[in-house]
Symmetry: C2
Subunit: 129 residues, 2 copies
């Protein structure tokens, strides 16, 4: 099954612009070939790959590092250890990010609690209690 750039945009949530940008940045595991009129033809694998890249991006992996990873995949078998290393490094970064976010969340939750108590106490007083 082959897909147009518009269809891929739809099912990945990326814009058509972003898809061309990603391609130019070397973030597609296999070269997108072209149909009549030079139009890009994508496959379901491309969509799957893109979905993974979106996950990596969402979790803060920079485009150049996604490119490095993509290049390893493109090279084929034999560099699995390098791929693993990239993934593990990233995993560690995500872990830290989550810890940090949890810390922020704790502070925010604490403050929300304080303000809720305060606002409630005001409301209670207002009805004469």
């Amino acid at each position: 099954m082959s897909l147009s750039i518009g269809q891929v945009a739809e099912r990945t949530g990326l814009s058509v612009h972003a898809l061309r940008f990603y391609e130019k940045e070397g973030i597609l595991a296999n070269e997108v070939h072209r149909g009549p009129g030079g139009r890009r033809v994508y496959t379901q694998q491309d969509v799957d790959w893109l979905r993974m890249c979106i996950m990596l991006r969402m979790s803060g992996m920079p485009v150049p590092e996604i490119r490095r990873y993509t290049e390893l995949v493109r090279q084929g078998d034999g560099n699995e250890l390098q791929r693993l290393e990239i993934l593990k490094e990233h995993q560690e970064r995500v872990r830290q990010q989550m810890a940090q976010l949890q810390e922020c969340m704790d502070l925010i939750t604490y403050k929300v609690g304080i303000y809720e108590d305060y606002v409630n106490s005001i409301a209670t007083r207002a009805v004469g209690q």
Copy 2:
């Protein structure tokens, strides 16, 4: 106790540049007053406030929204409900962010597992087992 901009930079981890930038952006709860030669003089409260702002930033609150919040605090009593709303909205965003990050983490962990198994199987085969 009063602190110079350099000292505040040290204890918040922000750069001197960033501190001036934050001030210009209206992100300080009380106006920083100036010492001899027009130099900024900070207090411990400023540092505490900045630390909270850093938490908000780290968790993705945009500078303009921190400014809105700061303005409410500067206005003083009476707008606690609005402050609470800002915090709750942000809390929700952070929650979503964490969920998203967890999703990414799951995928990465899954891939790491696969590559680890594969790399191990290769290593095992290499020693003739």
